[in-house]
């Protein structure tokens, strides 16, 4: 809220400067977002007195005035205002003034000018030209006692500083008002506020009470409703002091009646609303709207109401959206003669919902939705009466106050031990007590003197329990006075987060193998989902995404990473990246399945293909495969198998992988993830022209697959003997024995292990040769035994067994 410094000073009696005040408030109460000098645009505007007024020699509608603007300083000013008269005190803009006109905001620069042959040495100003409302019907006439020569801004009370203060959401009830802020400032200054804290006298109900009947249908949504009728009001401009207070607080001046309601809202925090009483018919009812009921607001906009909206209605129609905005129909105008003034208390939740539903943030809804005190009305009614009678000349025609369940003050017992324990500072009980008193709370020591009985005024609904009071004591004492203190804690070691530790170790390992870590958004749109051929129905969907391209929660990290691959290819032609993050999908049993996924990606521009045991085009795949094997070795993930992907066609994430250049990665029976080339169609969909190999793993599966226990194996004392084997496999006709056309390395390895046991200790593929209908694989074999040096015969026997099994199983022959 925007506060005028002078007004706060007047109410609180503070002697602090605006800057000091901002500092104190920040450390003890509220953040002051900005302090600035009010830009009144009234330099070179002074109070003047019209000494003489003559007809303009060359224009019928103009007059020439002699205006005193200082001792021995009189100016001749041409003036067109009908209401100018000799003896009046007026606002005179002298040459050099740069006025900001209310309605348009444009700047009006004043210079000496010749008007129809007469030189004018300034301008007599209307309210509008001074930025003080919309009245342009004649000049603004000042009070008789205005001192000639005084800067007008000073006279009008516009030389002021403004404080923009961010009121905490739980303090809306008291601090969104000048009085509340003045109380706070006084308390922080260790004194009482200057204004007198007293309730206005209950209004006397006129003997002939002509207030309409008021029916509150919903006691919960409308806790109190106070209505006053004023007759024979005169709608006119507000006096300057009132205008100035509104303008300084960031509001516009409209007319005396509207200005009074705004002034009282600023002063007390209580919103008020005025209806044209002559437009009302029958009883005033506070009720829920009927579904589809319509209301044209005073802005001219028509809203269709919901059955949850609270409205003010008469016998014929809805008059206002309660606590939010009035309707157009019964709004006050210049012609209004009789008014019905509403001062009511509405429930925060109901108002908030209506505000959100209709998107109508107003000064009233802002206050109501934070929760107001129904007893606040008692502070307001008397002042409202006094101001409307004094400034709009209304006569009270009737009063109604519906307040079925009076809210009463409540008590909290506050233990001094608790204060000390929570704050961790020894604040003397008498000091704690003082702070609470300064905040206007009634305090009584209990019998043992170990605690206080605090009576909280209904004005502070935020103070509900001991901790709320401790906060008040703490902030008034000053948090900066609480010295840091080491906690007394148990030395028990902290529990390890095994999965987190594993995740970090994996990330760290990958960076050492040359991979850069990326983080990407957790969502993408249907464009990426369809480009990656992912099933739309498995995705979780956001109701309110930033844009349609961020509507789906990622079920795999692939689409986002592919976009990043495309972008980074503009700068780099080979790179290795990974991301570890959460992915989401509809669960089978639970509505939501969330798991951590690891996507490792190798990208090579096609010109950089290279390889030895594998063809150049395949090198990228095998390079990533080897890196993954090293990763598994690092984390003791064993029994790794790469199974051609096509056997697992039902995994939805598999769609992005090349159908014949990809593998399911398993550790024993457990599936860890998929490793493979990017499907060429996907590459095209994502606009990528490079070899991209992806490996996506389920992180929890990786963590579980780690070998639990690692035991030492004695080192062999006997040397291994090595021998090479080269086997030629004829290509099998399709459909016979196996679906795969060629024998795979894995099949041959299985064979080696089977036939080579127990003496074959190691094997290593060193050559692959394919020609015509033959495929040849060559391995280095290492033989050995733990308890002896092998004889040549033993080795020969094993070697022959391998050859025999290869022949039997695959019709293979030994290359000689």
């Amino acid at each position: 809220m925007r506060y005028s410094y002078n007004w706060l000073k007047e109410l609180s009696g503070t002697k602090k400067s605006p800057k000091q005040l901002a500092e104190i408030l920040m450390m003890h109460a509220f953040e002051v977002e900005e302090v600035w000098q009010f830009p009144h645009h009234l330099e070179n505007v002074v109070v003047g007195k019209i000494m003489k007024l003559e007809k303009h020699p060359n224009a019928d509608k103009l007059r020439v005035a002699e205006v005193a603007v200082g001792k021995k300083d009189t100016r001749r000013i041409v003036c067109g205002a009908w209401n100018a008269a000799v003896g009046q005190k007026v606002a005179v803009a002298l040459p050099g003034a740069k006025l900001s006109v209310s309605s348009t905001g444009e700047t009006l620069e004043i210079k000496n000018a010749v008007l129809r042959g007469v030189e004018s040495q300034g301008m007599l100003c209307s309210a509008r030209e001074l930025g003080l409302g919309n009245n342009h019907d004649g000049i603004l006439v000042l009070e008789k006692d205005a001192a000639v020569g005084t800067p007008f801004a000073k006279y009008a009370g516009l030389e002021d500083s403004i404080l923009e203060i961010k009121i905490l959401p739980d303090r809306g009830s008291d601090a969104l008002s000048y009085r509340g802020m003045a109380r706070e400032i006084a308390a922080l200054g260790n004194h009482q506020p200057r204004f007198v804290e007293k309730l206005s006298e209950p209004l006397k109900t006129p003997t002939n009470n002509r207030a309409p009947k008021i029916v509150v249908q919903n006691n919960q949504a409308c806790r109190r409703y106070f209505g006053i009728v004023f007759n024979d009001v005169t709608a006119e401009e507000s006096p300057l002091w009132l205008k100035a207070k509104l303008i300084l607080s960031g509001l516009r001046s409209v007319s005396n009646i509207v200005d009074i309601t705004n002034y009282l809202m600023l002063l007390t925090g209580q919103p008020l609303h005025v209806f044209d009483a002559d437009k009302l018919s029958g009883a005033i009812t506070i009720r829920r709207a009927q579904s589809k009921e319509r209301l044209t607001l005073l802005t001219g906009e028509t809203k269709t109401l919901s059955a949850e909206d609270l409205v003010i209605a008469d016998d014929k129609q809805v008059l206002a959206l309660a606590g939010v905005m009035g309707g157009e129909y019964a709004t006050v105008t210049k012609e209004t003669k009789n008014i019905f003034l509403e001062i009511a208390n509405f429930d925060a939740v109901s108002i908030r919902r209506s505000k959100v539903r209709h998107n109508l943030p107003t000064d009233a809804s802002y206050r109501f939705e934070r929760g107001l005190d129904p007893n606040l009305l008692d502070e307001v009614t008397g002042e409202a009466y006094a101001l409307i009678t004094a400034l709009a000349f209304g006569k009270c025609g009737g009063v109604k106050d519906i307040y079925p369940r009076k809210v009463k003050d409540w008590k909290i017992t506050l233990s001094f031990t608790r204060v000390k324990n929570v704050l961790g500072a020894k604040i003397p009980p008498s000091e704690a007590e003082k702070y609470l008193r300064l905040l206007g709370l009634a305090v009584k020591k209990t019998a043992q003197g170990k605690s206080l009985e605090v009576t909280v005024s209904t004005r502070r609904p935020d103070l509900r329990d001991e901790w709320d009071l401790i906060e008040e004591i703490g902030r008034l004492y000053g948090y900066d006075r609480i010295a840091p203190k080491q906690p007394r804690v148990s030395l028990a070691p902290s529990a390890k987060n095994i999965l987190k530790t594993f995740e970090y170790a994996v990330k760290k390992y990958l960076t050492h193998s040359g991979f850069d870590e990326l983080l990407t958004y957790s969502f993408y749109g249907e464009r990426d989902q369809s480009a990656a051929h992912l099933p739309l129905d498995k995705h979780l969907t956001l109701i309110n995404p930033m844009n349609p391209e961020q509507k789906l929660l990622r079920m795999t990290l692939v689409p986002a990473i592919l976009r990043k691959v495309g972008e980074n290819l503009r700068h780099f032609n080979r790179f290795d990246i990974f991301e570890l993050g959460s992915v989401f999908a509809h669960g089978d049993k639970k509505p939501i399945k969330e798991k951590k996924s690891l996507l490792i990606t190798t990208v090579r521009a096609k010109k950089s293909d290279q390889g030895n045991t594998v063809s150049k085009a395949d090198a990228t795949f095998f390079s990533l495969k080897e890196k993954m094997l090293a990763l598994f070795a690092e984390f003791h993930i064993q029994d790794i198998a790469f199974v051609p992907l096509n056997k697992f066609g039902d995994m939805p994430e598999a769609a992005v992988f090349h159908p014949t250049r990809s593998a399911i990665v398993r550790s024993g029976d457990k599936v860890l993830g998929i490793l493979g080339e990017l499907h060429p169609f996907m590459a095209r969909n994502f606009g990528i022209d490079a070899r991209v190999v992806l490996a996506e793993f389920d992180v929890a599966s990786l963590a579980e697959a780690r070998k639990a226990e690692i035991l030492f194996r004695p080192l062999s004392k006997f040397p291994f003997a090595t021998r090479d084997i080269s086997l030629i496999f004829p290509r099998l006709p399709e459909g016979k024995q196996s679906a795969a056309k060629d024998v795979t390395v894995a099949e041959v390895e299985t064979l080696l292990l089977e036939a080579g046991a127990p003496l074959l200790k190691k094997y290593e593929l060193f050559d692959v040769y394919e020609k015509g209908d033959e495929k040849s694989l060559a391995f280095h074999l290492s033989f050995g035994a733990d308890d002896r040096t092998l004889s040549g015969e033993e080795m020969d026997r094993t070697f022959d067994r391998i050859v025999a099994l290869a022949k039997k199983r695959f019709m293979a022959s030994l290359r000689l």
Binding site: P169, N421, G474, I482, K500, L519, N544, I592
Partner: protein
């Protein structure tokens, strides 16, 4: 006579060495003058036949000659070895590049998260975590954020579509505080935990706003954990993190899940509180929110009201990174540009 012979041999050997030009010649020379069957060798071997007096004189003379020759030999050998290679021919241009060894980079956020975790773990904190898709209960209700609190506005929270009638609403967690309630349900105080994680706010992105960023939550609960303790832990953490003296400043604030609540600032680590553009000349940096856990949060977790007390605080890792490295655009963090990633 033998004495003269020894001197001659020494002189002869020295002279002969001067004409040696190759390693092969040197080896021949070595056999001739220093070998086991060399003349000098034989003299030394024959020493046992002499009287003790002669042995003394001749022995020292012969050994001296042998040492002199051996030293000369070593020097010549070193010289010849040095000369035997054409070093210029072997020269490489050391300024030329080799075969690049790829070195990857952890994302800056990961680096900082780990650094932060390390400090807290050293103070006995446990690292906890929880899901990013969270139920309305854990993200809001359990933290005393009532259904009508402005934080639940559509503008702030990404809500998930309910495809079938389900009891709960789900959302993308708006803070790591959601893990507080989860942790408390299964643990009894005293405990101290930190929760790093990715969080989501439904707001438009620009250089200083991002809908996805990383946060830290710190929660310590016990019988007597106080505001003063919070100040100690926060200060200890930041001094450790920035490796310099840091002051903590608490200002009143409001959060539904804490009471009392604070905004907390640290003295500007760039200008040491003297005022600079980063701290807008105030000498302080706004870091995050904190407070003493609201008893209603404890109650929601099933703890008896008033039995425990403790603090909770949260701060943005992304923000901390921007401050520490003077990063001007927050979007770079999730932007995936390797030119950014590789700088850290």
């Amino acid at each position: 006579m033998l004495k003269a012979r020894i001197s001659t041999l020494e002189a002869e050997g020295k002279n002969a060495l001067k004409t040696v030009k190759t390693i092969a010649d040197l080896e021949a020379w070595e056999i001739k003058y220093l070998g086991r069957k060399s003349e000098l060798g034989n003299i030394l071997k024959s020493l046992k036949n002499f009287s003790s007096e002669e042995k003394k004189v001749i022995g020292s003379l012969a050994n001296g000659a042998r040492q002199t020759l051996a030293q000369a030999f070593a020097e010549t050998k070193a010289r010849l070895l040095e000369q035997s290679v054409d070093w210029e021919k072997e020269r490489i241009d050391v300024s030329a590049p080799g075969v690049a060894v790829a070195c990857g980079h952890l994302h800056l956020i990961t680096q900082l998260e780990h650094q932060i975790e390390d400090i807290f773990v050293s103070m006995g904190f446990t690292v906890a975590d929880g899901p990013e898709v969270e139920s309305e209960w854990y993200n809001f209700d359990a933290l005393n954020v009532s259904p009508d609190h402005p934080a639940r506005d559509m503008q702030d929270t990404f809500w998930l579509q309910r495809d079938e009638p389900q009891k709960e609403n789900f959302l993308l967690r708006t803070h790591t505080s959601s893990v507080q309630a989860r942790y408390m349900e299964t643990h009894t105080p005293p405990f101290r935990i930190i929760i790093p994680g990715k969080i989501f706010r439904n707001e438009a992105t620009d250089a200083s706003h991002e809908h996805t960023f990383h946060q830290f939550e710190c929660l310590m609960v016990g019988d007597d954990v106080s505001v003063a303790n919070f100040k100690y832990i926060a200060q200890a953490f930041f001094e450790n993190f920035f490796e310099k003296k840091v002051l903590i400043r608490l200002r009143p604030s409001f959060f539904p899940f804490t009471e009392p609540s604070f905004e907390f600032d640290i003295s500007c680590v760039l200008c040491d509180g003297n005022g600079c553009p980063v701290c807008k000349q105030s000498g302080w940096l706004e870091i995050g929110g904190a407070g003493m856990v609201n008893q209603k949060v404890f109650e929601a977790a099933g703890y008896p009201r008033g039995k425990y007390q403790g603090f909770a605080w949260g701060f943005g890792v992304t923000r901390l990174a921007m401050m520490k490295y003077k990063i001007s655009d927050i979007r770079l963090f999730m932007g995936g540009d390797l030119r950014f990633i590789r700088q850290f």
